[in-house]
C-alpha cells in the first residue's frame, strides 16, 4: 500500500475534525455549551452523532477481522452491539434524559442523595472510559504501522493530540458536528470499497480461494456459554457506556430521546452490513491474512489486495480515513464524557478545569496503550462491555425502575461488579488469551447477575436508607414533559 496516500488520508480527517471543532468554538461560550451542546441538537443530528461516537475501532476493524477468523460465531458481535441500543431504548433513554443530570455520577448522586455514591460512580466511569480508549489507540497504532510503515506509537500519539486539540477548543457543541460527520464518513469508507470489490470480483469472475464456511485458522468454535456471556455483556454493557449516555442529555426531551435511539438502531443496522461483507470476502479471497495474524487489518488491506493499482490506492485511502474517523470519534466522545466527570469532581466544573481534565483523560490511556499489546480489537472491547455491564448497568437500571435502591446497595453492587469482572480480566490476561477458561475469558454471564444480586440484597438490608426524595425523583424520571409546541 502506498504510504503517502495513507498519510494524506489521515491528515485530511484530522484537519477536517479540527476545522469543524474550531468552527464550533465560535458558537460555544457557556459552561453548558461545553458540556452538552446546550441541549438543542435535533434527533437526526444527534442520532448520526451517536452512531459516529459508538462505531469504534472494534466495529470498523475488529468485527471484520473476527469474522475472518471465526465466521458465524463473530456475527454475534454486531448483533449484540446493535441490540444493546434496543435495551438502552427500552430501559434508559427517556428517563435518563428526563433526570436532568449531565453525567452518570450526577444521576446517581441526585437519585440516591449521596456524595459517596457519586465518588464511587465517578471512579467506575473513569475506569470504563480509560479501558475503552486503549483499544482505540491500539487500532490507530495498527493502522499506521500497516499502512505507512511508521512506528506504532505515531498512530496512537497522533490520535491523542488531535482529540485533545478539538475537545479543548470546542467542547461538545463542536463534537456533535464532528461526530455526525464522522458517522457518514465511516459508512462511506466501508461501503464504497466493499461495493467496488464486489463489482470487480463479479466482473473478472475470479474463483474464491477458500470456502466461506471453513475457518482459515484452526480456531475452535465457540460454545453456548461464550455466546450467552457475550450477549449479556453487549446487551447490558451498551446502556452503561458513559460516552453514549452523555449524548442522550442533548435531546430536547424524553420523547425525542426515544426517537433518536430508533434512528440510531437504523444507522447501526445499515453500517454493520459492511464489516460483515468485508469479513465474508476476506474468508473467501484473503484467508492468508488470518494465518499471518493480520486479521484486524483485513478492512485496510482488502481493496489493495483485490483491486490494486491506482483504484486500489484511492479506496485504501478512503478506508484509512474511515478508520481514523472511528478512532478519533470514539476517543473524543470518551474524552469529553470523562473530562465532564473529572472536572466536576476535581476542578469544580469550570471551563478551564474541563480543558485540563480533557488532557488528563486522553494522556493516561496513551500510557496504557504503550505498555500493552493489542489483542483482537473486537474481543478487548467486548471485555470493556462486560465491565460496564457489571458495574454501571445494575445501578442505572435499578435506579431508574426500583424505588428500593439505596446508596449502600449501589456502592456494594458497583464494587462487587468491578472486583469480579476486573479480577477475571486481569486473571485472563495473565493466563494469556488462548489458554484462559471460558468463564474467565467471558465473565459477564456470572459477574452481571452477581452485581445485580448484591445491589438488591444490600439495598433490602439497608431499607432505612432509601432517600426521602425518591417519590419526587421517580416522577421526574418518568412523567412526560408537556408537548413542546414551539420549536422542533
Amino acid at each position: 500500500m502506498n504510504p503517502v496516500v495513507s498519510l494524506v488520508a489521515f491528515l485530511a480527517v484530522s484537519i477536517t475534525t479540527a476545522v469543524i471543532g474550531f468552527y464550533g468554538l465560535r458558537i460555544s461560550r457557556t459552561t453548558g455549551d461545553f458540556y452538552v451542546a446546550s441541549r438543542t441538537v435535533p434527533p437526526w443530528w444527534n442520532a448520526s452523532a451517536i452512531g459516529g461516537e459508538y462505531l469504534s475501532a472494534a466495529s470498523f476493524l475488529g468485527v471484520a477481522g473476527l469474522i475472518l477468523l471465526s465466521g458465524t460465531d463473530a456475527l454475534w458481535f454486531p448483533v449484540g452491539y446493535t441490540a444493546g441500543y434496543l435495551m438502552l431504548l427500552l430501559f434508559v433513554a427517556a428517563p435518563l434524559r428526563r433526570s436532568g443530570a449531565y453525567t452518570i455520577p450526577d444521576f446517581t448522586q441526585a437519585r440516591l442523595d449521596s456524595a459517596l455514591v457519586r465518588r464511587v460512580t465517578s471512579l467506575v466511569v473513569v475506569a470504563v472510559g480509560w479501558l475503552y480508549i486503549v483499544p482505540q489507540l491500539h487500532g490507530a497504532a495498527l493502522t499506521i504501522r500497516i499502512t505507512t510503515g511508521l512506528p506504532s506509537w505515531v498512530g496512537s500519539t497522533a490520535v491523542v493530540v488531535v482529540v485533545c486539540l478539538t475537545v479543548v477548543a470546542g467542547g461538545m457543541r463542536s463534537i456533535t458536528f464532528v461526530q455526525a460527520f464522522q458517522y457518514w464518513l465511516k459508512l462511506t469508507a466501508l461501503a464504497v470499497p466493499v461495493v467496488f470489490v464486489l463489482l470487480v470480483l463479479a466482473g473478472n469472475g475470479s474463483a474464491p480461494q477458500a470456502p466461506l464456511t471453513v475457518n482459515p485458522t484452526s480456531q475452535a468454535a465457540a460454545g453456548a456459554y461464550q455466546h450467552i456471556s457475550l450477549l449479556v455483556a453487549l446487551l447490558f454493557g451498551t446502556l452503561g457506556l458513559p460516552h453514549v449516555l452523555v449524548r442522550f442529555y442533548t435531546n430536547p426531551d424524553g420523547q425525542s430521546a426515544r426517537r433518536t435511539t430508533l434512528i440510531v438502531l437504523g444507522l447501526l443496522s445499515v453500517f454493520y452490513l459492511f464489516p460483515t461483507l468485508s469479513g465474508a470476502l476476506g474468508r473467501m479471497y484473503a484467508p492468508e491474512l488470518a494465518q499471518s495474524g493480520q486479521a484486524d487489518a483485513l478492512v485496510l488491506l482488502l481493496p489493495g489486495r483485490l483491486i490494486g493499482g491506482t483504484a486500489g490506492d484511492v479506496l485504501s485511502a478512503l478506508v484509512v480515513a474511515g478508520a481514523f474517523a472511528a478512532f478519533l470519534s470514539t476517543t473524543s466522545g470518551l474524552v469529553v464524557s470523562l473530562s465532564g466527570v473529572i472536572s466536576q469532581d476535581l476542578f469544580g466544573g469550570s471551563v478551564k478545569g474541563f480543558r485540563l481534565a480533557a488532557v488528563l483523560a486522553a494522556v493516561v490511556p496513551l500510557g496504557f496503550a504503550f505498555m500493552t499489546d493489542s489483542l483482537a480489537l473486537a474481543g478487548s472491547v467486548g471485555l470493556v462491555f462486560a465491565f460496564t455491564a457489571s458495574t454501571i448497568c445494575p445501578v442505572l437500571l435499578l435506579g431508574i425502575w426500583w424505588r428500593g435502591l439505596t446508596d449502600a446497595g449501589a456502592i456494594a453492587g458497583m464494587l462487587t461488579g468491578a472486583l469480579l469482572c476486573g479480577g477475571a480480566m486481569v486473571a485472563g490476561t495473565v493466563m494469556g488469551g488462548g489458554s484462559a477458561p471460558a468463564w474467565l475469558a467471558q465473565p459477564a454471564a456470572w459477574t452481571v447477575p452477581a452485581a445485580f444480586a448484591v445491589t438488591v440484597a444490600v439495598s433490602v438490608m439497608t431499607k432505612g436508607r432509601v432517600p426521602s426524595s425518591v417519590d419526587r425523583i421517580m416522577s421526574r424520571l418518568h412523567v412526560p414533559e408537556r408537548p413542546v409546541v414551539t420549536e422542533r
Partner: protein, 120 residues
Amino acid sequence: MTRVRVTAPRQSAPLAPGRVTSPREIAEDSDSGRLFVRSLIRSQLRLALVVACGFLVILAVFALILVYGPGVAETRIAGVPLDWLALGVGVYPVIGLSAWLYNRAAARNEARYRDLVEDK
C-alpha cells in the same frame, strides 16, 4: 435553535422548554397524583420487559434453529449459507421492529397518563 444558558452545572440542569406547569407538581401534591405516577412507571416497566423478553426469545429461537434445525447447515439462498443470512442480515429488522413498536406503545402510555392528570 434556542440556546439555554447554564451558569452552575453542578448536578441539575434546566428542564426542557415548555415544562412550565409541571405535571410533577400535580404528582407530588396529592395521593391520587402519586398513584398515577406509580401506575405510569409500572406500565412502562411492564412494556419494556415484555419487549425485551420477546426479543430475547426470538433471538434464542433463531440461534437454536440455526444450530439444531434439520438441514439448516446445508441450506443456501442465492449461494449464501442460511446462517450467514440470518445472523448477518435477518436479525436487524427484528431489532428495528421491536424498537418501533416499543416507541409507539411507550408514547401511548404517556398520553394516557397526561389525559388522567388533565382530567383531574
